[in-house]
Symmetry: C2
Subunit: 196 residues, 2 copies
């Protein structure tokens, strides 16, 4: 395996772009080489196969889509109430809109996981880890609501992310006076999270 | 265009199976012919192109995934309370689990819609129609909560459908004593829908 970490990162990001644009079936080493602008055959020196590439895409998306530590720190200086949960969810939505390609790649990975048991196992572990981390964060921060609140909030946000990033027109104007996605994030939190 | 409606239905259902199994990029007329077990070239006599096939798949999924009128009628003889909303959502989830292929095809259609403006327009109109119909149904039936309740419930169920049908292990055991998906459907309704 070739070891240039910068080139590896460029190839993985190229894989994310190909996955979002072409779908899982379009994700070939040749397409990744083309997207990265490197000679054909390069990707095969960096990944043992397609499963390895998909695993590295998953790991990279965790970094790309993670909250900015400075934003987190600033938010954690605020009162631990429902308004703070809204601010966290708005930050999540902002990140998804800014890196729509990364999120669409995650959705493609889910569908590809239905076809590839090895990917399903590793991706399940990583998404489950995120959910448990979210519950642990909520608890440790003393935010209102328990694990059940976090689980329902997680599912509603997952639904909103899918809807807004794939068919944004569905929700636009569906609730009078509610902007999409910001206003809808507020309504989700208000419905799901107890006041204190 | 060839006009045999039974053969057309077989081809559209074959398209749904291909879409779910191979992803949108695998959806070719040749693959549909192969899946349906008809001579190569048949699908091209029934659809003007890929967009036409995708539109007919969308229309067919509306029929395949619709509630059973007898189940609806029986449920509508019950008291119009939160427990009835739970029963409707459980029926939705049952249908999705029974026709997982149909639901996975819908998720593939969403991702394909990000690449094809014509599909995006028609699919947006059809999903928006479903959401508005859901709000109208909820109102007419006198179920607890308003349009906002229905919108948040819709998003949480969309998230649960996506999670459970693609990565079922993520939610399994995440909340102690809560079965997946049934128990989680109950918790979503309890969290989102007011008691009366």
């Amino acid at each position: 395996m070739a070891g240039n970490p910068e080139r590896r990162a460029v190839l993985v990001d190229a894989g994310i772009a190909v996955l979002a644009r072409e779908g899982a079936r379009g994700l070939t080493f040749r397409a990744v080489d083309g997207e990265a602008g490197v000679p054909t055959g390069t990707a095969s020196n960096y990944f043992t196969g397609r499963d390895d590439l998909l695993r590295q895409i998953d790991a990279r998306l965790h970094v790309r889509l993670a909250p900015d530590p400075k934003v987190l720190e600033a938010l954690l200086s605020e009162r631990r109430d429902r308004a703070l949960v809204t601010a966290f969810m708005r930050d999540l939505m902002d990140r998804a809109v800014r890196d729509r390609t990364g999120y669409l790649a995650l959705f493609e990975m889910r569908l590809e996981a239905t076809r590839r048991p090895e990917l399903r196992a590793s991706f399940t572990a990583s998404v489950r880890g995120d959910l448990e981390q979210g519950m642990e964060f909520h608890r440790a921060a003393g935010l209102p609501g328990g694990d059940e609140t976090v689980a329902v909030l997680y599912l509603a946000m997952l639904g909103l992310l899918l809807e807004h990033l794939t068919l944004p027109g569905v929700l636009d104007g569906a609730l009078e006076g509610v902007t999409v996605p910001e206003g809808l994030v507020d309504r989700i939190v208000r419905t799901v999270v107890p006041e204190a």
